[in-house]
């Protein structure tokens, strides 16, 4: 199998062209590149292509099997959806960074060796950073820096783990790892990208700050690539079940409290990824199938949801629930398409969420993890509450507070329609999805029991919402999340440690002037390091070196 069949190539080429080409060419490339990548991903045969070596280690840039293929396909789809959504105004930065991120994500899932994985991982971090800055506000830049720093930390953990693994004679090919020293480092690195709390603040902080199309593209890659990595390397590790369950609930709780519509949806990403992480932790064939299927469907319906929210932001210029309301008569198509996504994420029958989320729940049930099962079901309730009821009610319904400034660009509507159609298609014909999954699927989603259960949850949540809706209409407030801790730590470092070091240097300078240079006048300008201090340090070092020899 030739390395040229890697779906990342057309995406990379597209990114390069989009960075420099004029508008019509950009538009063409933005749609064409993901399409070519999709075809390549669909037709990838099983097997590996070894190409080249780096630092004495073989590079296996392309290793395909069913698990990798399903992710490769959905990443190409997501790139296409996001590019279509952003086709107007087709900004260079958006398209180039978005396609590059897609290429990096393809690189991650199709990587056969650790070095390739690491290189693609870092590339994804950089490309996503650029995507966050597409928001073009000062807040966007600040969030982007935080994003970059956290992902750099994750990258550093991954690098340390990989180097340790390789140096202790580990297999350079990607495969399951035990939870020893290198394993923990790699797991932490994956956890950072998967936005496992408390390492999730980069996601909820940065995703809402990007442009509407930027958020759509951002949501597709980083977390799902991490999910793939967890499935590939740490499937069956018990700790992931609990991490995933906790994630699912954490995200939902904060989503219920959130007031910015895109931040609300970002917390939902954390929540839904929790299902996937839990599935990876359970590790059975059904669970892995469930996690992969859930990732596939989640990318599509989350893109749809973010497209809807992004459309609202684009049209009204506002993103916070207290500032929105009464948009239904002005944006009916958006509302309808958004609701398709909302019902999908809540697991309503006939839509793709129903066929995928239930796989994970069934896996939990099958392995007798009842606590996890009920907690995940509880999370479903919260999901429908915030995404399917609270957000649309206060955005599209209620008292009018905002009017859309202009009609939505046609590509935006087209992208949303396409995504909604996919949700519906996979919902009514789940066999299409199940055929892509790594293990054979013996699960039948459309049983009376499952449908009834889902409808019960939806109905019950709707009732609860109608009773509680005034309480949920958030006033202007900020929920405290762990990013407060990060900011405090950063401030401590910048304003505490560095000036403390400088104060030590100043004190030493004063001392040395008192001891050594009393006779000389101090120089006119204060330069950084005084001579007396330096000579004293030198003599000390000499002594230390003598001792150490």
């Amino acid at each position: 199998m030739s390395e040229l069949a890697h779906p990342a190539w057309p995406l990379l080429a597209g990114a390069a062209v989009a960075a420099v080409a004029p508008l019509p060419v950009r538009r063409l490339v933005a749609l064409l590149a993901p399409l070519v990548a999709l075809v390549l991903a669909w037709r990838l045969p099983d097997g590996a292509a070894v190409g080249g070596a780096l630092m004495g280690l073989p590079l296996i840039a392309l290793r395909a099997d069913a698990l990798a293929r399903v992710f490769a396909i959905v990443f190409a789809l997501a790139a296409g959806l996001g590019a279509l959504y952003g086709l107007e105004p087709a900004r260079q930065r958006l398209l180039a960074a978005g396609l590059a991120a897609a290429a990096a994500a393809e690189g991650i899932v199709l990587a056969g060796d650790w070095v390739t994985l690491y290189l693609a991982w870092e590339t994804l971090a950089v490309a996503s950073f650029v995507l966050v800055t597409d928001g073009r506000t000062a807040r966007a830049w600040r969030s982007a820096l935080g994003y970059l720093l956290v992902h750099a930390l994750g990258g550093a953990l991954l690098l340390a783990g990989v180097v340790w693994h390789l140096a202790s004679g580990g297999d350079p090919r990607i495969g399951p790892l035990a939870l020893d020293g290198p394993g923990w480092l790699v797991l932490l690195a994956f956890a950072v990208n998967a936005a496992v709390p408390p390492l999730h603040a980069w996601l909820t902080d940065a995703y809402p700050e990007s442009s509407p199309a930027g958020t759509v593209l951002l949501s597709a890659f980083a977390t799902k690539a991490a999910v793939y990595a967890l499935l590939r390397v740490f499937a069956g590790q018990e700790v992931l079940v609990w991490a995933g369950t906790a994630m699912a609930l954490y995200g939902v709780v904060y989503a219920v409290l959130a007031t910015d519509i895109r931040r609300l949806l970002a917390y939902h990403i954390v929540s839904q990824v929790g299902y996937m992480v839990a599935g990876a932790g359970i590790g059975t064939a059904l669970a892995v199938n469930g996690a992969a299927a859930h990732a596939f469907c989640h990318i599509i319906y989350k893109a749809l949801l973010l497209m809807g929210a992004g459309a609202v932001v684009h049209a009204t210029g506002r993103g916070r629930l207290p500032d929105l309301g009464g948009l239904a008569p002005h944006m009916p198509a958006t509302l309808a398409l958004y609701m398709v996504g909302a019902l999908s994420i809540s697991g309503a029958p006939l839509l793709n969420g129903f066929v995928s989320k239930s796989l994970v729940l069934a896996a939990a049930e099958a392995t007798h993890r009842d606590t996890a099962y009920w907690l995940l079901t509880l999370a479903s309730v919260g999901t429908f509450l915030s995404t399917g009821l609270k957000l649309p009610w206060f955005t599209f319904g209620g008292a009018p507070a905002a009017r859309p400034a202009a009609a939505l660009p046609r590509p935006m509507l087209a992208a949303m329609t396409l995504a909604a159609a996919l949700c519906l298609l996979l919902g009514v014909a789940p066999g299409l999805l199940y055929a892509l999954l790594p293990f054979p699927v013996a699960y039948a989603p459309y049983t009376a029991g499952h449908v009834l259960e889902s409808l019960q949850i939806l109905a019950g949540t709707t009732l609860a919402f109608l009773l509680l809706k005034e309480t949920l209409h958030g006033a202007a407030s900020r929920t405290l999340d762990v990013d407060v801790l990060y900011r405090a730590a950063g401030r401590l470092l910048r304003d505490g440690l560095a000036p403390a070091l400088a104060r030590v240097a100043d004190a030493a300078e004063a001392l040395s002037y008192a001891l050594v240079a009393r006779q000389l006048p101090a120089p006119d300008f204060r330069l950084g390091v005084p001579i007396g201090y330096a000579v004293l340090i030198t003599l000390l070092t000499l002594g230390l070196t003598l001792l150490a020899w």
Binding site: L119, L148, A152, L157, A160, V163, L501, A534, I537, T545
Partner: protein, 487 residues
């Protein structure tokens, strides 16, 4: 001529240094061209030397035909060839980029700058080529004195900075000389290979201990290893732009080479507690340098503290003294020379175009995209993002640290990357998006842009071919450094 390759690079720069003032008397405009040409010729000779070593193996060159251990020998082996190419190549680039700036800063005295810069390059190349301890001292001083003059050449705070540099540098050189004298008293020999053979038998002698400690501390001062770095921030902040294009990129590398050669090959210090002390000092340098760099408001001072941090990486590699770690340290010499050279050249160009060095006033934004892009590439190398060269040197250092079972050093290396991300982000952000004020902006001169592009391309390109580079040049260099050298 092939047999004389060890001595050619430093001779070419020396001849260039002396010919430049003479030519400047009759044709001042031609002087800078002559200077750059001499440096380029030296770089070619260094390259030829490295190629020769790879084909024919290491060689020793006896000056005056007097063989060692009585004669003064020059050594050409993979390490000295490699560092020679780094010094001469990046030095040429720096001179080319600084030529235009020299005319603006010095006016009619520009040929003097070129002559001094070439003398400094002669010193560095001589350090790299020497196989004799006292010869290293001579060239160390040649380089140092010309550096003091170069730093002082801008006047103002540069004068005081140069004075402090001179005091501390002379202290360092004196320590080194004392150390050499003690070794000479002990063994009667100054030849590196000879000493390497004799010293193991004398390992318990207090003269050896004292001499070794003095040598190491002296070279550490020259290398600006924390906490002996006191001269560096002021010198690099207040020197004129053409000077900062050259000195930060190559100066400390030559001293680091000398430390590597003498500590590891001659003194056999790879196994001692001193080596671990060196590695841990390097780790502290990485972190402290990075933290201090992150809070600077002056772009050049930021880069100066960044140099302190990066030299820490090299010290970690030298201290670990394993094959991977040494390969990483040597590769880092190349990577840092390229990246730091590009950064200082870029910032210098901005200063000459009328910007002030404060980060808040450095912005040129999208008006100078090539300059900005080259700075971003250099920043990526400093942070260690693949495929820039900095990533690969970091990888090898990490491999070395893991192989030596030192998680603290691993943590320091990675923390250094994160700190580099913070301060490089500040710098590139200031250049790309900072305030540009109301002043009109002069375009960056063509030669400067050309040099920046070459350095940026080299950073990326050499990163991509770093595998063969390491396998064929640096691993043999690392092995040779730690193996006992025969007579």
């Amino acid at each position: 001529m092939r047999g004389h390759l060890p001595v050619l690079p430093l001779l070419l720069t020396l001849v260039g240094a002396m010919a430049t003032p003479i030519v400047a008397l009759v044709a001042p405009r031609a002087a800078s061209g002559l200077a750059v040409g001499a440096a380029a010729a030296a770089a070619l000779a260094a390259l030829g030397g490295l190629a020769d070593v790879l084909v024919a193996g290491p060689r020793r060159y006896a000056l005056g035909g007097w063989p060692g251990p009585w004669g003064i020998e020059l050594v050409l082996d993979p390490l000295s060839g490699f560092v020679g190419v780094v010094v001469a190549g990046v030095g040429t680039a720096a001179l080319l980029a600084g030529a235009g700036g020299a005319r603006r800063v010095y006016g009619d005295a520009a040929p003097t700058f070129h002559a001094l810069a070439l003398v400094a390059l002669t010193g560095y190349l001589g350090i790299v080529a020497s196989g004799d301890l006292f010869n290293v001292f001579v060239f160390l001083e040649i380089a140092a004195i010309s550096s003091y003059a170069l730093v002082a050449s801008g006047g103002g705070p540069g004068l005081v900075a140069a004075f402090r540099y001179a005091v501390l540098g002379t202290v360092g050189a004196s320590f080194y000389l004392l150390g050499v004298a003690l070794l000479y008293a002990l063994t009667g020999s100054l030849n590196m290979a000879d000493l390497a053979a004799r010293l193991p038998a004398l390992a318990q002698s207090p003269l050896l201990t004292g001499g070794a400690a003095l040598i190491v501390v002296g070279l550490a001062i020259k290398m600006a290893l924390f906490p002996l770095h006191g001269w560096l921030p002021d010198a690099y902040t207040h020197a004129p732009s053409p000077v900062t294009a050259l000195l930060p990129a190559v100066g400390t590398k030559a001293a680091a080479y000398a430390l590597a050669r003498i500590l590891l090959s001659v003194l056999g210090g790879g196994d001692l507690p001193l080596a671990m002390l060196l590695a841990w000092t390097g780790a502290v340098a990485v972190v402290v340098g990075g933290v201090l760099a992150a809070r600077q408001q002056d772009a050049r001072r930021l880069l100066a503290y960044s140099s302190v941090s990066q030299m820490g990486y090299i010290a970690i590699g030298l201290g670990l003294a394993g094959t991977s770690a040494l390969a990483g340290a040597y590769l880092h010499m190349l990577g840092h020379a390229l990246a730091k050279g590009a950064l200082f050249i870029g910032v210098g160009a901005l200063l000459l175009a009328g910007r002030r060095p404060a980060l808040a006033a450095l912005g040129l934004g999208p008006r100078q995209p090539v300059l900005g892009a080259c700075l971003v590439v250099a920043a990526l190398s400093m942070v260690g993002v693949p495929p820039a060269l900095g990533f690969f040197s970091k990888w090898y250092l990490l491999e070395g640290a893991v192989a030596a079972g030192q998680p603290g050093l691993v943590g320091a290396i990675l923390l250094g990357s994160l700190l580099a991300l913070v301060y490089m982000y500040r710098l590139t952000g200031a250049v790309w998006f900072g305030e540009s004020g109301a002043l009109p902006v002069a375009a960056t001169p063509r030669p400067v842009l050309a040099v920046l592009v070459v350095l940026a391309v080299a950073t990326l390109g050499l990163g991509l071919v770093s595998g063969p580079l390491v396998d064929r040049i640096l691993i043999p260099a690392a092995v040779l450094t730690t193996a006992a050298a025969g007579p």
